[in-house]
């Protein structure tokens, strides 16, 4: 597969298990293990035989003894380890007590095989990891081109703009920049008071119905003043009606407005 050179380094052996001698096991900090399977695998290795041939019973007993010792030392043990301990205690009992005929539970042998399988698989994965890490690795043993020649992508932006947009942009800006000069057009506006004075004067003491337009004929000659004259005098006439000085009448929409002095006022 790959040359086992002297640079071979066992990535996985460095830590706790290497330090553990068979009788040193009991002094080992449980925290050094990566879980109960790791602990079991380490204990199994101490049997110095192929995992397939280990005595699962002996292994279970060693594990239980280890946990018992650790507990006596009042070292806190993670729940995982206790779950495994309970399972192994059960396994032990299954292995030692003959199987009942009507027992649907897995046999002790099946449980032992499952444990062996799990241990073998974990060990196999550890070995696989070590072999992976010892392969000629990129960036350490094998290298890419040191001076890659990157593809340079020249991006051309095709900006969308046409002459009309350009001219409109120009004209709009220039117009915006023109100083706004306010030269308000002088317009004749009939103030309300003014309209009222004129109206009162025109009506005088006339108690006959006369169209408003007739009173204003003189003033409506100028077209640009027509609107303001009409609007102001109409408003003024309403005011005079409110004050009870004038009466106002219109026979239908858009018909001439008729006015007269209110008689009751003449005392």
């Amino acid at each position: 597969m790959f040359p086992m050179t002297d640079t071979q380094h066992n990535w996985l052996e460095a830590e706790p298990s290497a330090a553990i001698e068979p009788d040193a096991v009991l002094r080992v900090d449980v925290g050094g293990y990566e879980g109960p399977l790791d602990l079991l695998l380490d204990l199994a290795r101490k049997q110095k035989v192929d995992l397939a041939q280990i005595s699962v019973l002996a292994l279970a007993e060693q594990y239980l003894a280890f946990i018992e010792t650790v507990r006596k030392q009042r070292i806190e043990i993670a729940a995982d380890y206790l779950v495994m301990a309970a399972w192994l205690a059960y396994l032990k009992s299954r292995l030692m007590v003959p199987q009942q005929a009507d027992d649907d539970e897995p046999t002790g042998e099946e449980m032992a095989a499952l444990l062996q399988f799990r241990l073998a698989r974990l060990e196999a994965m550890r070995e696989a990891a070590a072999r992976l890490m010892n392969r000629p690795r990129f960036g350490r043993d094998v290298f890419a081109r040191g001076m890659p020649e990157p593809v340079s992508i020249t991006r051309h932006s095709l900006w969308e703009a046409d002459l009309y947009q350009l001219l409109r942009a120009y004209a709009a800006q220039r117009e915006r920049a023109i100083p706004a000069e306010y030269a308000p057009v002088q317009r004749t506006v009939w103030a309300l008071q003014e309209a009222r004075d004129i109206l009162e004067r025109l009506i005088g003491q006339n108690f006959e119905w006369v169209a408003l337009d007739t009173y204003l004929a003189h003033y409506l000659g100028e077209p640009q003043e027509r609107a303001t004259v009409l609007a102001s005098t109409f408003s003024a006439s309403l005011e005079l009606v409110r004050l009870g000085q004038v009466e106002l009448r219109q026979s239908e929409a858009f018909a001439p407005l008729l006015l007269r002095r209110r008689k009751a006022d003449v005392d």
């Binding site: 597969m1 640079t7 990566e34 879980g35 109960p36 799990r118 994965m125 690795r137 081109r145």
Partner: protein, 228 residues
């Protein structure tokens, strides 16, 4: 360019295609997808055959053409490693947990976090998967169609490249592990031994949503995605 049936041109075209492929592969530090080379070759060129020819031409030289998943790259010859070896720039070695987890994912993919935990007999800290994601070696493949829809993990092309593997079939000891029945996630009950699989999603996997954050921190996820 290329009249595919103009035989008079062919040797010349072929030589040119080889040169173009060589130039593009040589220019890149990253493995190159041959599909990306095709547009620069003559019309009917068989880019796969060209790559094999180039690979043969470089066999035994100081630089080799290697396949990494679907991509190809020039790399220094493996056997020169004793001369070229550099100390790892990132001197922080991978933790045992990370190494084991990587091996589990490589050999058992697609695999869920719970399955890895079952294999190791211990729970995985979030940091462990993060480190492997960050290295660009593993990726989230999809979600398993089982209750809880757990994320499935697999390896990346960066993984193949880093460990010098053409395909997952080159994983060391794969055949022995398969023979020993150690690639199954349970006690072997059938004769069907699953093989690691980094291809298309399997039947029991759903694709990840584009914004699926998986079980990881967003930032790491983004980096990991960048590798794909």
């Amino acid at each position: 360019m290329g009249e595919p049936f103009d035989t008079s041109d062919e040797p010349e075209l072929h030589a040119r295609n080889l040169r173009v492929l060589e130039a593009l592969l040589f220019a890149s530090a990253e493995p190159v997808d041959l599909k990306d080379v095709q547009p620069f070759l003559s019309e009917a060129a068989d880019v796969g055959a060209l790559a094999l020819e180039l690979q043969a031409a470089y066999a035994g030289r100081g630089v080799n053409l290697v396949q990494r998943g679907d991509k190809w790259a020039f790399r220094t010859a493996e056997d020169l490693n004793f001369l070229l070896r550099r100390e790892e720039t990132d001197s922080r070695p991978l933790s045992r947990a990370a190494l084991e987890t990587l091996a589990m994912i490589a050999y058992h993919q697609p695999v869920t976090r719970a399955e890895i935990e079952e294999l190791r007999g211990v729970s995985i800290s979030r940091g462990t998967l993060d480190v492997l994601m960050e290295a660009g070696w593993i990726r989230m493949r999809g979600r398993r169609r089982t209750p809880g829809r757990p994320v499935t993990y697999g390896t990346t092309e960066g993984f193949l490249d880093h460990f010098g593997l053409e395909t997952l079939a080159d994983l060391p000891g794969l055949e022995e592990l398969k023979g020993a029945g150690l690639l199954s996630s349970r006690l072997p009950t059938s004769f069907q031994i699953p093989l690691p699989h980094d291809g298309e999603l399997r039947e029991d996997e759903d694709p990840l949503d584009p914004d699926d954050q998986g079980e990881l921190e967003g930032s790491l996820l983004d980096e990991a995605r960048g590798e794909d």
